[in-house]
C-alpha cells in the first residue's frame, strides 16, 4: 500500500494549492469592483478608500481588501510581524547581544564612516572566529560550541548593521536619482535652445538673402534647406517674394 502511494507523494506539489477564491480575481471583476468603489466615493464624500463596500456580489467579495489588523501585528510563518516594519532593537531580543558600539545612531548626525569601520571589523572577526572554531574542533576541546555561538552572533550583528543602513542607502539613491533628473532636464533645455538658435540663424539667413537681392538660384537653395522641399529653379522669384513679405 505504501509503495503504491509513493508516486503520488513524489508528484505532490511542494506547496498547498492557492485558496479557492483566486479564480475570482479576473480583470473584469477587478474593473467592476473599481467602478463600484468609484461610485461609492462619488455618492458619499465621507467614504474613504478604507471604507468597505457592502452588498457586494459573491464574486467581488474577495477583491475587497480586508482592513489592516487593528493592533498592527500579525503572524506570518510563526513569526510576529508588525505594520511598522521596524527593526527590533537589541534590547528587545533576548538571545542576541550587540557586539559593537557606535558613537552615533543611524538617526543621529554622525557620519557613516564609523559604520564602515565597524562592518569591516565584524567581517574580520568572522574570519578569525572561524579559524578559532576550526582550531578548537581540530584539538577536540569543548570550546567549539561556544565558538559557533560567537559566529552566529557576529553574523547576526553584521546583518543587523546592514539592515540599519538601508534607510541611509535609500536616501542616497534618491539624491542620485534627483541629480540624474536635474542633469537630464538641463540637457533637454540646452538642446532645445541649440535647435532654436539654429533655426533662427537659418531664418535670419533667409531674411538677409531677401534683402540683399541675391540671384534666384541662391534663394531657392536657402529656401529649400529651410523647408526641406525641392522646388524648381524658375520658381525662385515666387518664394523670394513670399519671404520678403514675411520678414518686412
Amino acid at each position: 500500500m505504501a509503495d503504491q502511494e509513493a508516486p503520488f507523494e513524489v508528484n505532490a506539489p511542494q506547496y498547498p494549492p492557492p485558496p479557492y477564491f483566486w479564480k475570482t480575481f479576473t480583470t473584469e471583476n477587478v474593473a467592476k469592483y473599481e467602478e463600484l468603489r468609484k461610485k461609492q466615493t462619488d455618492s458619499d464624500t465621507q467614504a474613504s478608500e478604507a471604507t468597505p463596500l457592502l452588498n457586494l456580489p459573491t464574486e467581488l467579495r474577495f477583491i475587497q481588501r480586508p482592513p489592516p489588523p487593528a493592533d498592527g501585528a500579525w503572524k506570518n510563518f510563526e513569526m510576529n510581524m508588525t505594520l511598522e516594519g521596524k527593526l527590533k532593537t537589541f534590547d528587545e531580543m533576548d538571545d542576541v547581544e550587540q557586539l559593537y558600539s557606535l558613537p552615533s545612531t543611524p538617526t543621529g548626525d554622525g557620519p557613516y564612516v564609523d559604520r564602515e569601520l565597524t562592518l569591516k571589523k565584524i567581517a574580520k572577526s568572522l574570519l578569525l572566529n572561524f579559524l578559532e572554531l576550526v582550531g578548537s574542533m581540530g584539538m577536540g576541546n569543548d570550546n567549539s560550541m561556544n565558538k559557533v555561538i560567537d559566529l552566529n552572533m557576529l553574523f547576526f550583528n553584521m546583518h543587523y548593521l546592514l539592515n540599519e543602513y538601508r534607510p541611509h542607502q535609500a536616501r542616497e539613491s534618491l539624491i542620485e536619482m534627483m541629480e540624474d533628473q536635474l542633469e537630464r532636464s538641463k540637457a533637454e533645455t540646452a538642446c532645445i535652445y541649440k535647435v532654436k538658435r539654429e533655426v533662427e540663424s537659418v531664418l535670419e539667413g533667409l531674411g538677409k538673402a531677401g534683402l540683399e537681392e541675391i540671384d534666384d538660384t541662391m534663394a531657392v537653395d536657402v529656401a529649400a534647406t529651410a523647408e526641406n522641399t525641392k522646388l524648381d529653379e524658375e520658381d525662385g522669384q515666387d518664394i523670394w517674394d513670399e519671404l520678403y513679405r514675411e520678414f518686412n
Binding site: 543611524p106 538617526t107 543621529g108 548626525d109 557620519p111 557613516y112 564612516v113 564602515e116 562592518l119 569591516k120 567581517a123 574580520k124 568572522l126 574570519l127 572561524f130 576550526v134 574542533m137 559566529l151 553574523f155 553584521m158 546583518h159 546592514l162 539592515n163 543602513y165 538601508r166 541611509h168 542607502q169 536616501r171 542616497e172 539613491s173 534618491l174 539624491i175 542620485e176 534627483m178 533628473q181 536635474l182 532636464s185 538641463k186 533637454e188 533645455t189 532645445i192 535652445y193 535647435v195 532654436k196 533655426v199 533662427e200 531664418l203 533667409l206 529656401a223 529651410a226 523647408e227 522646388l231 524648381d232 524658375e234 520658381d235 515666387d238 518664394i239 513670399e242 519671404l243 514675411e246
Partner: protein, 143 residues
C-alpha cells in the same frame, strides 16, 4: 545584481555557507589518528563497498588534502575581502542624515527651477516652430 547592501548581505551569507562547506570537507576527508596504542588504522579497502565508501568519506591523500585546505582557506579570505571592498563602496559613507536631507531639499528646489526653464524653452520652441510653419505655408506652389 541588487544594491550594495544586498550584495554585501549575499556575500556574508556566502561566507557562512563556505564556512559550513569547509567544515564538511575537513570532517569527511581528514586523515586518521591513533588515540591509544591499541588502535589500528584500517588498511587498504578490501571490497567494492569499502572502496566506494572511502571514496566518498575516507581520507584524501595528504597532498590533495593540503591543497584543498589551502584552496578553501583562500576562498574564505577572498570572500571576506570582497565584503570589505563592497563595504568601502557603500553609498554616502561620508554623509549623515542631516546632510542628505539638505541635499534632497536643495535638489528639489533646483529641479523646480530647472523645470520652469525647460517649460520656457519648450514654449520658445513652439514659437519658433510656428514661425517656421507660417513661412513654409506662405510659400505658394507655382501654378
Amino acid at each position: 545584481m541588487g544594491d550594495k547592501l544586498t550584495q554585501i548581505q549575499e556575500a556574508v551569507d556566502d561566507l557562512a555557507n563556505q564556512m559550513v562547506a569547509c567544515l564538511y570537507y575537513l570532517n569527511r576527508h581528514h586523515d586518521w589518528q591513533t588515540l591509544s596504542p591499541n588502535d589500528v588504522i584500517r588498511g587498504q579497502s578490501k571490497n567494492e563497498f569499502e572502496t566506494a565508501y572511502d571514496k566518498e568519506f575516507g581520507p584524501r591523500n595528504p597532498v590533495a588534502f593540503k591543497a584543498a585546505q589551502k584552496e578553501l582557506a583562500k576562498d574564505l579570505v577572498i570572500k571576506e575581502q570582497q565584503i570589505e571592498y563592497l563595504i568601502s563602496h557603500l553609498p554616502g559613507l561620508a554623509n549623515n542624515e542631516e546632510k542628505q536631507e539638505e541635499a534632497i531639499r536643495r535638489l528639489e528646489a533646483e529641479l523646480v527651477i530647472e523645470e520652469e526653464k525647460r517649460k520656457e524653452a519648450v514654449k520658445e520652441r513652439e514659437v519658433v516652430l510656428d514661425k517656421l510653419d507660417t513661412i513654409i505655408r506662405g510659400i505658394k506652389r507655382p501654378r
